[in-house]
Symmetry: C2
Subunit: 379 residues, 2 copies
């Protein structure tokens, strides 16, 4: 993995991310020192994929706090809230986004309660100290140190989340690899690869682990209209790794299955309800129905941060609808006539009954998911 893909990370007081809209044609890294730019990158799909969105939000929140000009803890807290709200409004479906925001909020609260922050808290100034100029300086110095401590705590936590994501994906790969047999043809939808995470990938992490284990595998890549994450991103990752792969349009997968050309299906997820219903890129549900009709195992690879224990079933998962132009155009070229209506949901929900197993960093989760998912989440 010397040539490994790094999707989004912290470097030199900046968030660095690969602009996925330009792939596979151009490999451009954006160096951002403005959290609003990171939030916009999530919204415009420069950064996408549930785990990558979570990591980017964590790093972006740390970035926003780092460059905050707030002179006091109260002001920093206010800034922090604004920053978190900005990220929470980028995209509605990916659970990891909210998981990361909650994680950063918890980190901030804990840091605020720590002695290093308490020393600089805006307690009423000691009249003895404030009488002279040196006293004010002391207070300002204390405040500055406390604010720096809080900011550094957020950066450390965001970088931990980022690094942990790659470690989690390697565990997912190790657990999932067992499911893949030598000679398997594996179908995947959208991109649940290194680019959808901090690195290595979830569904493609399993593929990578199987390949690294020496299994002779071949991947069928759904192009995944409208945004073409399969054609642009998954194909790019697989060509780069030298893993044999074949690109198809989304409507070809059923015909492949009918011909017995697909042995396993593995996809990622954006949010998984407590009963195992899984939201993922639009088209995943169709693939799952086709998989069942052809008796092909259908696996969902995702970190536990994608599971939303607070949501009972898939019906309660909010589904983002995106710009109709994503459907009527393709990479800027107009495809459809003016005046046609458009429906453009970015995700669909696959009921748990279509899922053979989940692959997580804590191992496989098998049915009945109503029991096994809460058990893993609670453990």
């Amino acid at each position: 993995m010397t040539n490994s893909i790094r999707t989004v990370y912290w470097e030199n007081d900046a968030v660095v991310f690969i602009d996925q809209r330009l792939l596979p044609g151009v490999e451009t890294y954006v160096i951002s020192r403005d959290y609003r730019q990171v939030a916009a990158a999530i919204k415009d799909l420069s950064i996408r994929g549930a785990p990558a969105i979570g990591v980017a939000a964590a790093l972006g929140i740390a970035l926003g706090a780092h460059y905050s000009q707030a002179p006091s803890l109260t002001a920093l807290k206010a800034d922090f809230e604004v920053i978190c709200t900005t990220f929470s409004q980028t995209r509605p479906t990916a659970r990891n986004l909210f998981w990361a925001i909650e994680g950063m909020k918890k980190c901030f609260q804990e840091a605020c309660a720590a002695p290093q922050a308490q020393q600089g808290m805006e307690i009423p100034p000691n009249p003895l100290l404030t009488k002279g100029g040196w006293g004010n300086l002391h207070i300002n110095s204390y405040r500055g140190q406390a604010l720096n401590f809080l900011k550094q705590s957020l950066i450390t936590e965001a970088c931990r989340i980022c690094g942990e994501d790659i470690a989690i994906n390697r565990k997912i790969g190790a657990y999932g690899e067992i499911l893949i047999a030598d000679g398997d043809n594996i179908l995947t939808h959208c991109n649940a690869g290194a680019l959808a995470t901090a690195g290595y990938g979830t569904a493609l992490g399993v593929v990578r682990a199987a390949w690294e284990a020496g299994k002779r595998i071949h991947v069928y890549v759904d192009e995944t209209r409208p945004v073409l994450q399969g054609a642009r991103l998954t194909a790019w990752e697989l060509v780069r790794e030298g893993i044999p792969a074949t690109l198809i349009t989304d409507n070809m997968s059923g015909f492949l299955m009918k011909q017995g050309k697909v042995q396993k299906i593995i996809v990622g997820a954006d949010r998984i309800a407590a009963n195992g219903d899984a939201a993922n890129k639009i088209g995943t549900y169709s693939v799952a129905v086709l998989a069942k009709a052809h008796k092909i195992p259908f696996y969902v690879a995702a970190p536990l941060s994608t599971f939303d224990g607070a949501i009972k079933t898939g019906k309660d998962i909010p589904i983002e609808e995106r710009d109709p132009a994503e459907v009527t155009c393709c990479q800027g070229v107009v495809l459809a006539p003016q005046g046609i209506g458009v429906y453009n949901p970015a995700f669909d929900v696959t009921p748990h009954s279509y899922i053979s197993a989940f692959v997580t960093e804590k191992g496989l989760i098998h049915p009945p998911f109503r029991k096994t998912v809460p058990a893993v989440l609670g453990s």
Copy 2:
């Protein structure tokens, strides 16, 4: 239908066709006096859709014969064979192509046997007549008249096939319209519209007939990658007719069905085996499997010329594979990385068990198709 779409027709000793590759952006009619140009137009998808391919081949064969410089019947027969072979090698799947070629061959044979042709046959010249120049002139005149008779017979037959196609589609519409209820949302895949036929359409003919009957319907249009016949052609036809329609990417149809938003599915066909297995645009099979899973009626509208009684099951239908660039590019824009493999079958086969009924110009054909299809073909 004052504003009706004419896909391909005969006018002023030329074959005129709309270049469907340029739709919906540009509406260009090509006036062709070279049969090879018509054959190339079928190959490059300027003309597509099984019935339209059949009509274009018939007109193209008449065109080739019309402009043949053959001085004798033997030479015209040789030219005719070359012309027919050229058309038979354009595309392998559409039954209507071979049906039209067979029809034109039969017409030619019958015309050759007619007295008007026999008079000019290359019987050994009468020595008395050939002695003088006037004798040769007589023979040449006879020959010329005979050759013109043959050519005119072919033009008449091709124009008959063309006109009959529209009449057949109106019958299909009238029979199929009964299946559509007021308020139905109808999903269609690819383009089985006016543009796929000489005019009016098969699957879209049913939609048109339901709309003309005053039924308040709404159509979901699969964009139909890779060539986007849905987004470019079906959407264009429906906008032009003012029929409410919504464009989706191919991978959204399952999610729509799950939400109960689709009441009927109707598609065309390129070749139907004697047992009812139907080849149609890639992705049709997936739609049919999804329809069955959601208990939604799945209808195939096609003229009897699409049925191939000589082929017992769908396994024997040849499936065309097309240029990988259709998948890796979209309207000239490169989507995928270099080095990725591609699979690009233009059609798939839907087993008869997924089909609720066929809509033909002789009425509906219901299961069991093994009995009912041969009965209609033999009648």
